[in-house]
């Protein structure tokens, strides 16, 4: 009777068990839709499976060795870096600027804020088609407009950096609302008392923004940048619709190159290896950003 007490099986225990059971559907979903395909991709990346030639069950690092000497892959990483850097920077800057600006709007006009969300709701292929027309001189209303004044707008899509600029534009237009939303939410978490206190102490609007608002926004900014960066690694619709990777190979980003290898060249194993590399890159960078976030918030 006396001595060791057994853990009491009371109401809390039952609740805990209930909670644990409720996680099961989510675990199943993540398992089936994320873990299993990821494991499959892992397996493929280390194999020599070719869609047409089949496989010799030759597992190893051969795909990764090939990646090291693949000039087209190096080119694609360079392209991806350009698209990611400029795209994410513009999206975060414009999104934040719009968020800060919209915050000042009060009253009836607040409903108008929804207009800024609309670009985010457009499917990416539609966005790509719209911007393709805008950048095609024979179809674009922009060119027609400037033609009236005798000015010729250059053809962006036929030059290397012009094409990158065009894709960054289309990408930014559709994705800046995401940054805007996150920053707006973060701004609402900042007590107006802080700004008031700073104003009373004689700080200008700009100084308040730089020394008070921005540091408080830092975690949100970091998170938005990370999310947009990971998303930018998956760049496909804009490239496929607007330039097909051209001119030459100057907009052939890494994910697009993985598509070419997998579906055009039927080299499924190599495409999987490239995708795995992208996944590891994203994972690594997320890890470091998370650590950075910890330091910033503490």
């Amino acid at each position: 009777m006396t001595g060791q007490t057994r853990p009491r099986r009371g109401a809390t225990y039952e609740l805990q068990r209930g909670y644990r059971l409720m996680i099961v559907p989510a675990l199943l979903a993540v398992g089936i839709f994320a873990i299993v395909p990821l494991a499959g991709m892992f397996g493929l990346a280390f194999s020599d499976y070719h869609l047409i030639r089949g496989t010799n069950w030759d597992f190893g690092f051969q795909n990764f060795a090939k990646m090291l000497s693949d000039k087209r892959l190096m080119n694609s990483i360079y392209v991806m870096a350009a698209l990611s850097f400029f795209g994410v920077a513009l999206q975060v800057i414009i999104g934040s600027a719009v968020a800060v600006g919209l915050q000042k709007i009060t009253g009836r006009w607040r409903v108008g804020r929804i207009l800024f969300l609309l670009p985010y709701a457009v499917p990416h292929v539609a966005v790509a088609l719209i911007w393709l027309s805008l950048f095609t001189p024979t179809l674009s209303p922009i060119n027609a407009f400037f033609d009236l004044f005798g000015l010729t707008v250059p053809a962006f899509l036929t030059s290397q950096w012009g094409a990158i600029f065009a894709i960054v534009m289309a990408d930014t237009w559709t994705n800046f609302p995401f940054a805007m939303l996150i920053i707006m939410a973060a701004l609402q978490g900042i007590s107006p008392d802080l700004e008031e206190a700073a104003a009373i102490d004689g700080a200008t609007r700009i100084r308040t923004f730089i020394y008070i608002t921005l540091p408080l926004l830092a975690p949100a900014l970091l998170m938005v940048t990370l999310f947009r960066f990971i998303d930018s690694l998956k760049h496909f619709p804009m490239i496929f619709v607007m330039t097909k990777g051209g001119p030459g190979r100057s907009t052939q980003a890494t994910n697009f190159y993985a598509y070419v290898q997998t579906f055009q060249n039927s080299n499924v194993a190599y495409g999987a290896a490239i995708a795995l590399m992208l996944f590891l890159m994203a994972a690594l960078i997320s890890y470091y950003v998370a650590k950075l976030n910890q330091r910033v918030t503490s």
Binding site: P137, T138, L139, N143, L157, T158, G246, P247, R249, V260
Partner: protein, 423 residues
């Protein structure tokens, strides 16, 4: 519990049903195609086939992306759930190499094959065996603005050199001389550019017809062709022509921004259709330009084949022969916008002639003429073609957009070809 057990038992029987041996009388055929005027028209006629033969038809017409995933799953999984499959000529090489198709040489009758145009039929003849029967052949043609040429007192150019000569004379501030595909891809710029290549005697391989697959793209003939292509697009194309695909060529033609277009019949037919183009009435059709080595119109063929693991091979053969027969094709040609048939006798059908003459008098005749000139291996019928086409297309596009000189582009193309062919 008992309830659950009996339910499970019944479900397992139901799941096992597809694997049960098919009863000899209840024949059926499973057809998978992707959406095009012919396949849509065929879907509407399946009742007639069922009435004629008593074979049940389970036909699916899906989008091209859905099609790709379904056939990949079916073929790699060996499920045998498809008896008749849509076989675009570009894919057929890969499928043959992967062992996903079975030869139809001994299955189809002489009667059927003799009524099919030689070029498209030859496109499915690999290693002496017939692997599919064609139902569609898009061919390269040229459209031109009759009013512009009349005004300038010029005749329709017969060669690329002539076209280059008259281009500056028909070009002005409002319109460019010609629009051609430039974007990289085996189905994009590499559908049009080989017309110029072959007109000048250029080839992809040293001696394709006799099996010598040494890459030969870096040749003086191909260089001349590439320089002409680059010049036509840069000097005589609309602004931004370096990123043109068939959609932009089509739009430019319909808006009267160009004088000439060399494109597939899918686009040309829209340029002469009064419902689509404002300039349809003043647009004429001709064979694509030739060169010192003659004319080689582009050709893109679609057909029907039988997967290697098909379960209903007899029914499949009957279905295919019925689908490409003159009666069926004529009916579809009348019901749909489908002038791209490959069954020869349909071209003599007065109703069909009348229907398409209403759209444009020369269309059918010019098309058949072009098909007679076309070669089945316009784009080499090797399994590596999609990869080769992509790499060469990128090099051609780079030359067009000034990222490389034509010489450098062909050097890169040949180096890529050697990598891909494993040499």
């Amino acid at each position: 519990m008992k309830h659950l057990l009996s339910k499970a038992l019944v479900t397992s029987f139901a799941l096992a049903a597809p694997f049960a041996p098919t009863v000899a009388q209840a024949q059926e055929v499973n057809v998978l195609m992707f959406g095009m005027p012919f396949t849509n028209g065929l879907l509407e006629l399946t009742d007639e086939f069922e009435a004629e033969t008593g074979i049940t038809v389970n036909m699916d017409v899906v989008g091209q992306d859905v099609f790709e995933s379904r056939i990949t799953l079916s073929f790699t999984g060996g499920t045998g759930d498809i008896d008749v499959v849509h076989t675009p000529v570009i894919q057929v090489q890969k499928w043959i190499q992967a062992g996903w198709l079975q030869p139809m040489t001994d299955l189809v009758s002489e009667e059927t094959t003799s009524d099919i145009l030689a070029g498209p039929l030859g496109a499915y003849n690999v290693n002496g065996d017939q692997w599919a029967l064609p139902f569609f052949a898009g061919v390269g043609l040229m459209s031109y603005r009759k009013d512009v040429l009349e005004e300038a007192g010029l005749a329709v150019p017969e060669t690329w050199a002539e076209l280059l000569e008259i281009a500056p004379q028909v070009q002005n501030d409002e319109r460019a001389a010609i629009a051609l595909r430039a974007v990289p891809g085996q189905g994009f710029n590499m559908f049009i550019f080989p017309m110029v290549m072959r007109a000048y005697g250029g080839t992809f391989f040293a001696d394709y017809e006799n099996g010598d697959l040494t890459p030969a793209i870096n040749s003086p003939e191909n260089l001349e062709a590439l320089k002409i292509y680059v010049e036509l697009i840069n000097e005589y194309g609309p602004p931004g022509a370096g990123n043109f695909n068939f959609a932009e060529v089509n739009a430019a033609g319909q808006n009267g921004q160009i004088v000439f277009a060399v494109e597939g019949t899918g686009i040309i037919s829209q340029l002469v259709d009064p419902d689509k183009s404002r300039f349809a009435d003043v647009t004429g059709i001709a064979l694509p330009p030739g060169g010192p080595n003659g004319r080689s119109p582009a050709i893109g063929v679609h057909g029907m084949g039988i997967p290697a693991d098909a379960t209903n091979v007899d029914a499949a053969t009957q279905f295919i022969e019925w689908a490409v027969s003159a009666e069926t094709v004529a009916k579809i040609a009348m019901a749909q916008s489908f002038p791209d048939f490959t069954t020869a006798s349909v071209a003599d059908n007065p109703e069909v002639i009348a229907k398409y003459a209403a759209i444009h008098p020369d269309f059918l005749a010019t098309r058949v003429e072009a098909l007679d000139l076309a070669i089945g291996h316009y784009r080499p019928l090797v399994p590596e073609w999609p990869t080769l086409g992509q790499a060469i297309g990128e090099a051609v596009n780079a030359a067009i957009n000034g990222l490389m000189t034509p010489e450098e582009a062909l050097e890169q193309a040949e180096a890529d070809m050697r990598d891909i062919m494993g040499q």
